[in-house]
């Protein structure tokens, strides 16, 4: 991933570092906060300044439990995914209150990446509020003073400077402690009990995560971003100057029955090259004349890692006027040179005294418009991370990286076993767990079910595919359900591409006729190789009767694709098919390429390729996804794709550009009403059931979806005007989730087969949710998709809901096989992606009935 892509990715994962408390640092009262450390360690309450705002909750007395949790929200920043856990949706639906498990399919024993965490029955967490007299501003000092106090030294504790968590209750509700700083000042600390929390409280989950952060630190793993990595055991790829730090994404949470610890293998890609080395190399290569300019061009936007504190920064600027011999001001006002600072603080001697400094802007933690903090970094100490643009296109490099990173289920299992072993064997880690009263248990296994495979319905043939992952071979001779014949169409190509067109056309016609898609002769327009010529040719030759325009593009330059798609999707609505001339040059693969293109073209003309059996009559399925516009003007593209026939083979697609910063959709009412009208037009009735699959919901947004999006859908359904309004279900789809499931076989583990559904143990008690594996991986480990039913008027049995979802994963016409999410979601994703990347405006409504964006 290139630096910028990473930035974008980080931007999407909301506030990656809002989860931890820095407790173990017992550095004495030096008051030293270096520029580059300012206080990027997140805490319960944001930052130090935040403490004064929450100074008086103590007189409210002890509230037990986490009722209402208004207090929690005000004073304590809860991890975003923990916030989602507070959203209880299951209890509202009577049909799943007692059991949300299905029954069909063959039971299969599955190993997971989850570990049991045992707690004593009556375990409680005690939350205390700590005030200091005189008031101390430095969080470090506050922490140090409290930690060093004899009264608390035997307790397991987590403290962020204001809020203290203990696993054992202190004798008294209010305790006054007095201590002395190194300078000899006497400080009085008042520790007041504010709450007693049962182990099920979301607050406890957060504390557990902090405990595990400490434990992993004791296993010499460092937190970078959200995950933990072990720099001491790097995997080196010397030929590409890369090293991979192995690590884990971990999470402690309440799953269906108990508290579990989940871990998934993760890697950090680092380049074995400091920014200084990179600069020197560059200087040798291009000379000094335009060095600064090139340097800025290549470095700005990259993510660097400083190994002395294992933190990552984005290079926002380079300050050529500052040298390591210059001084900067510390928090306490004293001046120090960069050289001295690094020697004192980290015992690092800087060798190059003429290097410039890199500038990085720290994101303000509070969402106000205060000026962001600026951080200076020394190039010599900054390592490049991630893969630059050139590197990702280097096939050998990517192969080498993938070989290391793409673990087989067995490799993954071994790594997990080792982590569990380390946690249990390490003395410090075990001690930490024990003082909190936790017991790290065994790896959990559970029973899932493999759903029966689906038959693919073709025009005059029912096909039982050999493998649900790819049935292209099975249906090669079958006719697709329905497509109009293509009589009037254009091919626009460059002069150079002419020699391939003939072969391709005859191939296309041949595969077309065998699938029942009648492809007529196109008008072929040859143009020069530039965007303007393509666009002009299209403008001149497209008229009302043209059914489709095919463009043979000379290169994958974005300009060609964007301009053609933009013109033909909004100005002049005609389905278009772009093909790279390079693709058509692959002679050996011509048949399969032509087949793929023929299928895509028939979809774009409104064709229906195949179907699966849908037992529910009059069911509309809807997919919703969001995507950020690439022009970056805080525009979110919302896509909405709804089926408009009971067979679920024809689709109505709408898309809108929304000027907000959140991913929450605003316009669903318009979309839904439009879709219902379209359904009415084709079926002369309204659908009895509507099932909406919502993708693109980030951590912490679940409540917003329930409170803001579901009402929009409901009101448009209610207003649709029939006597009995359609019944609605809304399911949040998440491709990214922590659990992994493997089948155990002959003492080895394998990927779970497609169609595996897990609806117990690894699910959440407060949700009506399940995992479904609908993707086959030939290499690496397959990850399940998580489905969370947040609204369910339909009252379908969980079994039926699971099977319906499985069926819908078969209906994506761009791939002759199963995909990892339901087809409407994938369609919505494709649509938003096209709009966000290329069109940047609403596609013409005339195309709404075609899958023009495939």
């Amino acid at each position: 991933m290139s630096g910028r892509a990473r930035v974008r990715a980080r931007g999407m994962a909301r506030s990656p570092d809002s989860l931890s408390v820095q407790c173990t640092q017992t550095s004495p009262s030096g008051m030293l906060t270096p520029v580059d450390l300012s206080d990027s360690e997140a805490s319960f309450s944001g930052d130090v300044e935040g403490t004064s705002r929450i100074s008086q909750p103590c007189n409210k007395g002890v509230s037990s439990g986490d009722v209402g949790s208004t207090f929690v929200e005000k004073s304590v920043k809860i991890r975003q995914d923990c916030m989602d856990l507070g959203v209880c949706t299951r209890e509202k639906w009577a049909h799943v209150r007692d059991s949300k498990t299905g029954s069909s399919g063959i039971p299969v024993k599955l190993a997971t990446n989850l570990f049991n965490l045992d707690l004593p029955q009556d375990w409680q967490l005690y939350q205390y509020h700590v005030t200091y007299i005189p008031d101390l501003a430095s969080r470090r000092l506050r922490i140090a003073l409290l930690y060093n106090h004899s009264k608390l030294s035997n307790h397991a504790k987590a403290f962020d400077g204001t809020i203290l968590f203990l696993s054992q209750k202190l004798e008294e509700k209010v305790i006054e402690l007095s201590t002395e700083t190194q300078r000899g000042e006497t400080v009085k600390m008042t520790v007041t009990l504010t709450r007693e929390l049962p182990s099920s409280s979301p607050m406890c989950i957060q504390v557990f995560n902090i405990i595990f952060k400490k434990i992993l630190k004791k296993l010499s793993m460092y937190q970078i971003g959200r995950n933990f990595y072990k720099p001491s055991e790097p995997v080196e790829i010397p030929q590409h100057k890369l090293s991979l730090w192995p690590g884990f994404a971990v999470c402690v949470s309440h799953f269906e029955r108990s508290l579990l610890f989940g871990a998934d293998v993760s890697y950090k890609v680092l380049r074995n090259e400091t920014v200084l080395e990179f600069m020197t190399d560059l200087c040798y290569k291009i000379g000094t004349s335009c060095f600064t300019q090139m340097c800025e061009q290549q470095l700005i936007g990259l993510i660097v890692l400083t190994r002395y504190n294992n933190k990552t920064y984005r290079v926002d600027d380079i300050d050529w006027s500052v040298k390591p011999t210059h001084t900067f001001q510390r928090r306490d006002g004293s001046e120090i040179t960069y050289i001295d600072y690094y020697r004192q603080q980290y015992n690092i001697i800087l060798s190059d005294l003429n290097q410039p400094v890199l500038v990085s802007l720290l994101k303000s933690k509070r969402n106000d418009n205060t000026e962001p903090k600026i951080v200076h970094l020394i190039p010599e100490l900054c390592f490049l991370t991630g893969l630059a643009g050139q590197a990702t296109s280097d096939f050998q490099l990517m192969k080498a990286v993938a070989e290391e990173m793409r673990l087989s289920p067995l490799g993954r299992q071994q790594r997990l076993a080792r982590l569990a072993d380390d946690i249990q064997r390490n003395k410090d880690a075990r001690f930490e767990l024990e003082t909190w009263g936790l017991h790290f248990g065994s790896q959990m296994s559970l029973t899932g079910r493999v759903l029966p495979s689906e038959k693919i319905l073709m025009q005059d043939h029912v096909c039982q595919p050999m493998s649900a992952a790819d049935w292209s071979k099975d249906i090669r001779t079958c006719k697709i359900l329905n497509v109009q014949s293509l009589n009037k169409w254009l091919i626009v190509c460059s002069n150079r591409a002419e020699n391939v067109i003939e072969g391709f056309l005859s191939c296309l016609r041949r595969v077309g006729s065998s699938m029942g898609f009648n492809v007529g002769y196109p008008k072929i327009i040859k143009v020069q190789e530039n965007t303007a010529a393509f666009l002009r040719a299209i403008q001149q030759h497209v008229d009302l009767h043209v059914q489709l325009v095919m463009c043979i593009l000379p290169s994958d330059q974005k300009n060609y694709y964007d301009s053609i798609k933009k013109y033909l999707s909004s100005d002049c609505p005609v389905p278009s098919q772009c093909v790279l001339s390079r693709t058509l040059n692959k002679q050996g693969m011509m048949m399969s390429i032509a087949t793929k293109i023929a299928l895509q073209m028939s979809c774009k003309l409104g064709g229906e390729l195949w179907a699966v059996e849908i037992p529910l009559k009059s069911l509309m399925v809807v997919g919703i996804d969001t995507c950020k516009d690439t022009l970056g003007k805080q525009v979110v593209v919302v896509g909405f794709v709804a089926s408009i026939n009971p067979r679920i083979t024809r689709w109505f697609s709408r898309c809108i550009l929304q000027r907000t910063t959140t991913d929450i959709a605003d316009c669903l009412k318009v979309f839904m009403t439009g879709a219902l009208k379209e359904w009415y037009k084709h079926n002369h009735d309204l659908p009895a059931r509507i099932i909406v699959y919502r993708d693109g919901v980030g951590d912490g947004q679940l409540r917003a979806v329930i409170e803001y999006e579901v009402p929009q859908l409901l009101s448009s359904v209610a207003e649709s005007g029939s006597k009995t309004s359609s019944r609605l279900s809304v399911i949040v789809v998440r491709k990214k989730c922590l659990p992994r499931f493997f089948t155990e076989m002959n003492r080895t583990v394998q990927n779970a087969p497609v169609g595996t559904v897990v609806d117990s143990e690894a699910t959440r008690p407060e949700w009506y949710d399940f995992y479904l594996i609908t993707k086959a991986a030939c290499r690496g480990t397959v990850s399940p998709t998580h489905y969370n039913v947040i609204y369910d008027d339909n009252g379908l049995k969980p079994d039926h809901m699971q099977r319906l979802t499985f069926k819908l994963c078969h209906l994506y016409y761009n791939w002759q096989g199963l995909i990892s999410i339901p087809a409407p979601c994938q369609y919505a994703h494709k649509l938003t992606y096209l709009v966000a990347q290329s069109i940047h405006k609403e596609p013409n409504l005339e195309l709404a009935n075609y899958l023009f964006y495939l």
């Binding site: 300050d319 008008k523 666009l535 001149q540 009412k669």
Partner: protein, 381 residues
């Protein structure tokens, strides 16, 4: 979605918004209906903020917005001859609100336009954005990369802001007298306005230029001519088209050479094209090369080997008979493509286009050529 309740028109929402204020004034308003009598006067008042134009919704056919009346376009003739300036200024991104400097102007484009004459003159210049605020280089670079791609520093064509502004003033205000009204797209208005002010401050030239939106101009012209209000969507779709994106002689030289879509001059020219294409035609004006990039379409009408049309289907059977046939690179073919035929009528209608129609004879000619196609085939390679 259609309006289900007839009462909820713009006026309804206008009144609804007014209710709190009326209550503050102590008036007994419980519902929208109660408040209507108090609001009608305000409704009729002309508010010329770009977003709120209550006047537009009043069913008064002869109403014209203030910007138009200032131009005193009393007759068609005045309207046709009226001169408008379309302006756009690009910036290296937009900096967050806490920064003193919100934009970094880097390119300015302006065209002088009238419905009658089309584009009469153009002004374009790159601007030296000045020092980039420390720490925002990445931000600006990313913004530039995703749009106009103008280098953020050491750009050889960048002129200093004072010079650019002076030249711009010379362009729009060559003779002393009234300063003309300048129009830009409503989405760009905040940026253009800020940049103009900034440049004026830097160069210590004090001149407040009135910046109006193109959308309002279109509405005004339409009203003037047809005495009715065009829909907002219509106006937006009129101005937001992709068809001129890659037209020749539209972008500035630098953007054209680098084949970059985003160009300040192109934005202005495209406004002119759009207005010409949809409004000027309504006035019955013969479009010229100054109105829309006709040359692109005329060029293809002349004999040129650059673009060749093959009606593959028509010759397919023939191909089977004579395997040597693969394609034509005959220029005559080109002309045929533009002849109106039942099968493939030409897509773009351009007034004044000369048609070199030759009827069916061309088909026979082509058939005869096809016999010697093998030699042509070689020739073309």
């Amino acid at each position: 979605m259609p309006n289900r309740r007839a009462s909820r028109n713009a006026y309804y929402f206008f009144v609804q918004e007014k209710i709190p204020e009326l209550r503050r004034r102590g008036l007994p308003v419980a519902r929208v209906a109660d408040a209507i009598p108090y609001c009608s006067a305000d409704w009729a008042k002309l508010v010329s903020t770009p977003l709120r134009k209550p006047g537009k919704f009043i069913p008064k056919p002869c109403f014209s917005p203030p910007d138009m009346s200032s131009l005193s376009l009393k007759s068609d003739q005045a309207l046709l001859g009226g001169i408008f300036y379309f302006l756009n200024i690009y910036s290296h991104g937009e900096l967050p609100p806490h920064c003193e400097q919100r934009f970094l102007p880097c390119e300015i484009g302006c065209v002088k336009y009238s419905l009658q004459e089309g584009i009469m003159a153009v002004f374009h210049s790159f601007i030296n954005p000045g020092e980039i605020p420390r720490g925002f280089r990445f931000h600006c670079q990313a913004a530039s990369d995703s749009t106009h791609k103008i280098p953020i520093s050491n750009f050889e064509f960048g002129h200093d802001q004072a010079t650019v502004l002076q030249n711009f003033y010379k362009f729009i205000h060559p003779n002393l007298g009234n300063w003309p009204s300048i129009y830009c797209k409503s989405d760009d208005r905040a940026r253009v306005n800020w940049c103009l002010k900034r440049m004026a401050r830097v160069s210590e030239i004090r001149q407040d230029i009135e910046l109006l939106t193109v959308e309002d101009l279109v509405v005004g012209i339409y009203q003037q001519k047809f005495l009715k209000e065009p829909s907002k969507t219509w106006v937006r779709s009129l101005l937001d088209v992709a068809m001129w994106d890659y037209s020749s002689n539209t972008r500035c030289k630098w953007h054209e050479e680098h084949d970059i879509l985003f160009c300040a001059l192109a934005v202005c020219k495209k406004i002119a094209y759009c207005i010409s294409n949809s409004l000027a035609t309504l006035f019955g004006i013969q479009l010229t090369g100054a109105h829309i990039p006709l040359q692109d379409y005329e060029a293809s009408n002349s004999v040129t080997p650059k673009m060749v049309v093959l009606d593959a289907g028509r010759y397919w059977n023939q191909r089977v008979e004579s395997p040597g046939f693969s394609h034509f690179s005959c220029s005559n073919q080109e002309q045929r493509s533009n002849t109106p035929s039942d099968d493939y009528p030409s897509g773009v209608k351009i007034p004044g286009q000369n048609s070199h129609a030759r009827g069916r004879g061309i088909t026979r000619l082509l058939e005869s050529i096809s016999n010697s196609s093998s030699s042509i085939h070689k020739f073309s390679k």
